[in-house]
Amino acid sequence: MDETAGGMNGRCREFDELLPLRVLGDLEPAEAARLDAHLGSGCPRCAAELAALQESLSLLPLALPEVAPSESARARLMARVRAEAQEGRSPSASSMGWRIAAAAAVAAILGAFVTGTIVARRGAAVVAELHDRLDRQSAELADLRRQVFQAKDSIRMASAPGVHVFDLAGQKGAEQASARVFWDPKGATWQLYAANLGAPPTGKTYQLWLITPTRKISAGTFSEGGTTEALGQVRVPDDAGTVVAAAITDEPSGGSPQPTGSILLLGKL
């Protein structure tokens, strides 16, 4: 008889030592291999013991004092889930798509019955987990790439010769707000970093202006409050004179050709 197989013999006892360490941490490779071979031989006693240990361990967090996640976490989850539920039922899927999906479902159900072993289930879970992880990492990578580009842009803006910097201070109605604007006349671009700026009222937007002694030139609009960043393009006509200041006003959505709202932030060059 295979010495690793069998339930109630003395040899099974030695695994009593290893099972608790198996569910929580690491075994020596040789020990792990021995235990796996034993479990693989289908010992019901040790499999049950392992499951009971795993269950006990997994219930530990129930002893922690509960902490409520924010409502926005629930909203994010449910938005994702509802979108996916909709996708699954989408009538726009082609009939071929449906047939394939149905075949896959049948295969999946059959598969679950036929190969209903722990190993197969684990395999499926691992594959699903890996897919999921890959999705998340691709998204993270795209996000990081975007951030790097933005950061490069910001560094270029902050360090390039010829870039002007305006420090804008909050005026009446926005005393707490502050902002810094980098303006690159050569590249005709600007970037703005604002803090403590409330969100604009409904139907309104923020608009950035470059001011010369004779003109106010619209640089563009942005509508996020809080601590925010915005960027845009602006070309100052040659006959407009020297830009001496930058200002932010609130304007009706879409912006105005000339300022109509009150000046919320102002900074001289």
Partner: protein, 188 residues
């Protein structure tokens, strides 16, 4: 797990497999407080813990059909998903020093966001787990928690606690057997 709660969880999971978002919402409301506490205990960062909570339930939604009632309760399965997610994030971050400074302020965070009836139902299991933990020695509990919540290897725990590796292994082994005994002895 208490039988009633387990039956209800099983029903919710069946509906989730049939793509019913409301069932997921129910399961979320039932376990969000525990899963958040768990993720926060591991990650010690609220925003990151919340991300992990969303991830965990999204996984429940996507992979409900892989749950095997023969291998344990729904609650335990959710905790396994949570642990793997949270510990993964922790390792990616490699922010071990944050763990070492281990601020206990976390325990003062607002607790439960549940209705009283839900509270009563889950508190039965909760009490059993709290009791089971209380039976462990401080050393056993510490070693188990370091391994479980912080994903440390036995050797890492030994060096953290400045104890011989053999002692750490013994504590984990005996503590685990004790836990298993208390939790199954109280099975209704």
């Amino acid at each position: 797990m208490a039988k009633d709660a387990e039956t209800e969880d099983g029903g919710l999971l069946t509906r989730i497999v049939a793509r019913d978002p409301e069932a997921l919402a129910k399961l979320y409301d039932r376990y969000r407080g525990v899963v958040m506490a768990f993720a926060l205990r591991v990650l010690r960062d609220r925003a990151e813990a919340e991300e992990a909570v969303v991830d965990v339930f999204h996984q429940v939604w996507r992979h409900a059909e892989t749950f095997d009632a023969g291998r344990g309760s729904v609650a335990a399965w959710i905790m396994i998903l949570c642990r793997s997610r949270a510990v993964d994030r922790l390792r990616q971050r490699g922010r071990r020093q944050a763990v070492e400074s281990s601020g206990d302020g976390l325990h003062e965070m607002p607790s439960s966001a549940k209705r009283p009836d839900e509270e009563a139902e889950s508190s039965l299991v909760k009490r059993r787990v709290v009791r089971a933990l209380a039976v462990l020695s401080a050393g056993q509990r510490e070693a188990i928690e370091l391994a479980y919540y912080e994903g440390l290897s036995h050797a890492e725990i030994a060096s953290r606690l400045r104890e011989p590796l053999g002692t750490v292994k013994t504590r984990i082994r005996q503590g685990m057997l004790q836990l298993r005994a208390s939790l199954s002895a109280h099975e209704d």
